[in-house]
Symmetry: none
Subunit: 225 residues, 2 copies
């Protein structure tokens, strides 16, 4: 049985709590378990049974895949308050891959076992929706990682390009097009536009028909180093 | 308005159809559109408005991201009968990245626009669940691609690419260029050409102006396992 404090944590962590029937609430309160894992311990892997849904009370988890040669690629990390869903991948029919989950520090975790989660998920569409939404968030994390792995720091390259151009012209206004920057940098216009829009939202530059104006050279410079 | 044949296709493609109210069904039938795209056309990108949910009646779609050097990384392809959901990423709050979707061949598509899909999704939990389950399937595709990119040696990757292309076209002749293969595989043309020349010397394929012909599918397959 969970301690009252852990029960509170469980309830607050699960957005579908109010959608559960009284019986489902009771089941969950009775069957969820508090588990402790030591730093470095593997909590979930494709070789063992599906660990279930993990609510991180304390500590940090790391999710990764392993290559044939034993190389580890970290996909994302989870913090206190986060919920690990890929450790319940056996419950999610649309997820057909498996990952490793390690305790990156000592961890205190509330675990909803796979059979229970599978039952709740099939009985209650809001539980199922929750699990797939969470999976979509992790999808976003993985896409971010993929871009980091494949595309190295374009923000730095663009920042230094803009500063050089401004220095060359002696004015914060750089009269050019995204297309021309892309050509000069050996990139694609879409990529340049995306990063310039990001710079603009961050207040580093302003964009206009005539070109690009550097608004905050100091912060732009700090991107490079 | 959709033709009766397209309406049938719409209805059969959407697993949540029977969960819709009469009014929602009517709305969907009235507002879904048949769209045609020419080979190579970009259907969805981060720069344009969210295209919405795309039901592929005929043709093939390719989903990819672009690197800072303008290199395209194909994430996955979609076949007739598949549904493209990341083109409606603006509707999915848990998805916070964007991709490009191109018509790889001439395509006939039934499109459910984003505002309509957003409305249905907020009114009907089964529509929302459907979209996240579909996103989870694409997550699985991306994980597969990620492993291909990171882990599998290039000869295996190229062998499995060629076999898949031949299976897709139903012919041992794959009409394509080394450049296009490189783009689809997230590689460089030089690397593809070198490996194809090696395959050709080994008698696995023959190379011609028109494309690549698979000569020994059995040995090509044995490379993969």
């Amino acid at each position: 049985m969970l301690q009252p404090e852990d029960f509170d944590f469980l309830q607050k962590s699960l957005p579908f709590w109010d959608r559960l029937s009284a019986f489902q609430k009771e089941l969950l309160s009775r069957e969820a378990r508090i588990n402790r894992f030591a730093q470095g311990q593997t909590i979930h892997s494709s070789e063992n049974e599906c660990a279930g849904v993990l609510l991180i009370k304390n500590g940090f988890l790391r999710t990764y895949i392993i290559s044939d040669e034993g190389r580890e690629i970290t996909l994302y990390r989870l913090d206190p308050g986060d919920i690990c869903i890929l450790s319940a991948s056996c419950v999610l029919q649309s997820i057909c891959f498996d990952v490793f989950v390690d305790a990156e520090t000592d961890c205190e975790i509330i675990r909803i076992g796979s059979p229970l989660f599978s039952r709740l998920s099939s009985e209650n569409v809001y539980v199922e929706l929750f699990s797939y939404q969470l999976a979509a968030e992790r999808f976003s994390d993985v896409m971010w990682t993929l871009q980091q792995i494949l595309f190295i720091s374009f923000d730095k390259r663009l920042a230094s390009y803009l500063l050089e151009e401004a220095a060359r012209s002696g004015s914060p206004l750089i009269r050019t097009t995204h297309e021309r920057i892309a050509r000069n940098m050996g990139s694609a216009r879409e990529v340049v536009s995306r990063m310039l829009n990001y710079f603009s939202k961050e207040g580093l530059v302003s964009l206009s028909r005539g070109g690009i104006t550097i608004k905050d050279p100091k912060r732009l410079r700090s991107l490079i180093s």
